[in-house]
């Protein structure tokens, strides 16, 4: 869902503004990003819990690669008509990590402009994929941010292209991590790409509804909008890989576009290799 940044955040004008970050008043219902603990907890107890434990039977490896404090950029492969991977990664950190932390997810600006999505997504931790947003979360607030550098190219890829990573854009996510001096944690997710497969796209309906895409899945559109949630019970395996440090690459590594590209390619290759290996070990799509 992540979109590539078009402009870079302005460098902090001289002073470190982090001490001036406003605290959250305890009576607030949502935080300054619009995230609501109440709405999040509701989904966490119901839909996510069900999908995580019973439906996808998620298996987690390498959770220790997610840092216990400070900002970190999580980078994952991404697929499915209504991708369940982000929710499962967030749940995995909540359930398995010794220091559970909230996870912020970058979503395309499209969702901010679409009624309903615009209301719901920020409540459960999505922020528009603007480089300044990622920078503030990583650098100023020291949060975990999940990005999908494949973005839309990932979610709209067809079933026949599953587990073949799309292009990682221009490496905007690497630049964001470098500026915030935050590590990049690659994640390989197996299962998501079979849980909500897309067989074809209907372009005229896509234009008519104003949606990002109008897919044909096993349950959509013939079961209506709820059919978007018609996930197949594929077995999920989520592997957190070794973090890539970005704070030892010199003074202003983001100015070196070649270096940015190289790191982005490396991260992509790491995830792709891991996916191939995991798929090789897998005996069944449904039982793992």
């Amino acid at each position: 869902m992540a979109q590539q940044p078009t402009t870079s955040p302005a460098p902090a004008p001289g002073t470190d503004l982090r001490p001036y970050l406003p605290g959250l008043e305890p009576e607030r219902q949502v935080n300054d990003w619009g995230r609501s603990e109440r709405v999040e907890a509701f989904f966490d107890r119901t839909l996510t819990e069900f999908l995580y434990r019973l439906w996808f039977r998620c298996e987690i490896e390498g959770i220790e690669n997610v840092p216990a404090d400070g900002g970190a950029l999580l980078v994952s492969n991404h697929a499915g008509a209504l991708p369940p991977d982000a929710a499962m990664i967030g749940k995995a950190i909540k359930e398995e990590h010794p220091h559970p932390r909230p996870l912020y997810l970058t979503a395309e600006h499209f969702f901010k402009g679409y009624p309903g999505f615009s209301m719901l997504l920020p409540k459960i931790g999505a922020v528009p994929a603007h480089p300044a947003n990622v920078h503030r979360l990583l650098y100023d607030e020291g949060q975990l941010v999940l990005v999908f550098p494949e973005g839309r190219k990932g979610t709209e890829k067809l079933y026949k292209d599953r587990y073949r990573l799309r292009r990682f854009g221009r490496g905007g996510f690497v630049e964001a991590a470098m500026r915030a001096r935050a590590p990049i944690v690659p994640i390989a997710v197996v299962g998501a790409e079979e849980a909500a497969p897309i067989f074809a796209h209907i372009r005229p309906l896509e234009r008519l509804t104003g949606l990002l895409y109008f897919p044909i899945t096993p349950t959509f559109p013939h079961f209506g909008l709820l059919g978007m949630f018609g996930f197949l019970p594929a077995k999920f395996r989520i592997r957190f890989l070794r973090p890539v440090r970005t704070d030892d690459m010199g003074e202003r590594p983001w100015d070196d576009k070649a270096l940015v590209q190289t790191v982005a390619q490396d991260v992509r290759a790491t995830i792709q290799d891991e996916l191939v290996e995991m798929l090789g070990d897998r005996r069944s799509v449904w039982f793992g």
């Binding site: 955040p9 406003p22 959250l24 219902q29 990003w33 619009g34 402009g113 679409y114 209301m119 528009p128």
Partner: protein, 420 residues
């Protein structure tokens, strides 16, 4: 503080009046002159008021005649429900041009300009970042008249700042202000029995209390803060949270598609929905207020407290009525109190009176007896002084004796403190 002779435009606004009241108490301020299209709404002791036209075209003559060194420009109309679009444009764009013209020209006395701009500068669009910093631009060109005015005026002031580095120019971009004495399109919407919303959207909104607007302006007058700063209370609320704080239901009466059409229907039935508000109701806006906090300003109210204050006002106003019109400006009375020889001196001395150009009250430095010291004695004393006192002494020395060896010694000390 270097400002001694201050001109305030927009004196009849809440913050214009509050700022003038605060500055009146300061004996270091020699003269305060206020201009506006309407008479002031608060009682002022020594501030002189002049009524001007929307375009503020004659302001240059006031600046020159009164030797104004600081112009605080709070005149901008940032809400389309308070006036007609044409008058707003005249006030915002032509007015800004005239104010800037009044600050330029050979031998111009103005050394500082504090300009009240608006967060409308950033707009409210889909591709916006969650928190605008001062260096960011809007993501789409301005669509509404007010936003276009703000962008144009803000840009003109920043151009002026680059052309005139000798003038300290502070641009303050204020988030939407709320408070008991303000009538804005948002405060109107919030006074309705249900808060109108666009179906399927719950925008993020940030507010500033009207007293903080005055506070920020005063802070910028007292300190030298060249540059652009966002001014907004801490915390970004969502509209449903605002409705909750006001104790009112959210009424999603506007459809997500064809919003403009539905809005014009609502306008027919008396809901004053400003066009620039529609963007806010859809996408919302948050600004990064940290840069101004880093200059030492502390906000009195957060966004949430601002809304709570508004609720308290709404509830009390319903019972006891608004105390808005408690003060009425009477020109002749003000003239009489300030100038007539029959007025008892003590009535006038409550606050120090305005002084004619060139006249000074004795400064603290002179009172401390530094003028009697020889250059060598003074230099020996310098290292024991704090930075603030040092700066004051430097200003005093420059204006009076201006002994080069003393000035050099002070500059040396200041330099070592800056680097240390």
């Amino acid at each position: 503080m270097t400002s001694r002779r201050i001109l305030i435009t927009g004196l009849s606004t809440h913050w214009g009046g509050r700022l003038a009241q605060a500055l009146e108490q300061d004996p270091a301020v020699e003269a305060i002159i206020g201009v506006d299209r309407r008479p002031p709404k608060v009682e002022l002791q020594r501030t002189e008021f002049l009524r001007v036209h929307d375009s503020h075209s004659l302001i240059g003559r006031i600046v020159e005649a009164a030797e104004i060194d600081t112009v605080v420009d709070t005149r901008m109309v940032v809400d389309s429900i308070v006036t007609t679009p044409r008058l707003a444009h005249e006030n915002n764009v032509t007015g800004t041009t005239n104010v800037l013209a009044a600050c330029s020209g050979a031998g111009n006395p103005v050394r500082k300009l504090v300009f009240k701009s608006s967060a409308h500068y950033y707009g409210a669009e889909r591709a916006d970042p969650a928190f605008f910093t001062e260096a960011m631009e809007r993501t789409e060109p301005a669509r509404t008249l007010i936003e276009r005015d703000v962008v144009e005026a803000d840009g003109a002031v920043r151009d002026f700042a680059t052309k005139r580095p000798d003038v300290t120019v502070t641009v303050l971009r204020f988030a939407d202000a709320l408070g008991p004495s303000l009538r804005t399109s948002l405060s109107h919407l919030f006074s309705l029995p249900g808060i109108p919303a666009i179906l399927g959207f719950d925008p993020r909104l940030q507010f500033i209390h009207e007293d903080d607007v005055a506070g920020c302006l005063e802070h910028a007058v007292r300190d030298d803060l060249p540059g652009v700063y966002n001014a907004a209370g801490d915390g970004v609320l969502v509209l449903s949270e605002v409705a909750d704080l006001l104790g009112k239901p959210l009424a999603p009466v506007l459809p997500p598609w064809g919003t403009g059409l539905a809005a014009s229907v609502l306008r027919r039935v008396g809901v004053r929905l400003a066009p620039e508000t529609l963007g806010l109701l859809r996408y919302g806006r948050g600004v990064d207020n940290r840069a101004f906090k880093a200059t030492g300003y502390r906000y009195r109210y957060t966004s949430r407290e601002t809304v709570i204050k508004l609720r308290e006002h709404q509830r009390t106003a319903a019972i006891v009525g608004s105390s808005q019109e408690a003060y009425r400006y009477e020109r002749d009375l003000e003239e009489f109190l300030r100038r007539s020889p029959s007025v008892r001196p003590s009535a006038r001395d409550a606050a120090p009176a305005n002084l004619p150009p060139g006249e000074r009250r004795g400064s603290a430095v002179a009172e401390a007896g530094y003028d009697d010291l020889g250059a060598d004695e003074l230099i020996a004393l310098l290292p024991s002084l704090e930075a603030v006192a040092l700066a004051e002494l430097a200003a005093h020395e420059r204006e009076h004796a201006a002994r080069p060896e003393v000035l050099r010694a002070i500059a040396g000390l200041q330099g070592s403190e800056d680097s240390g």
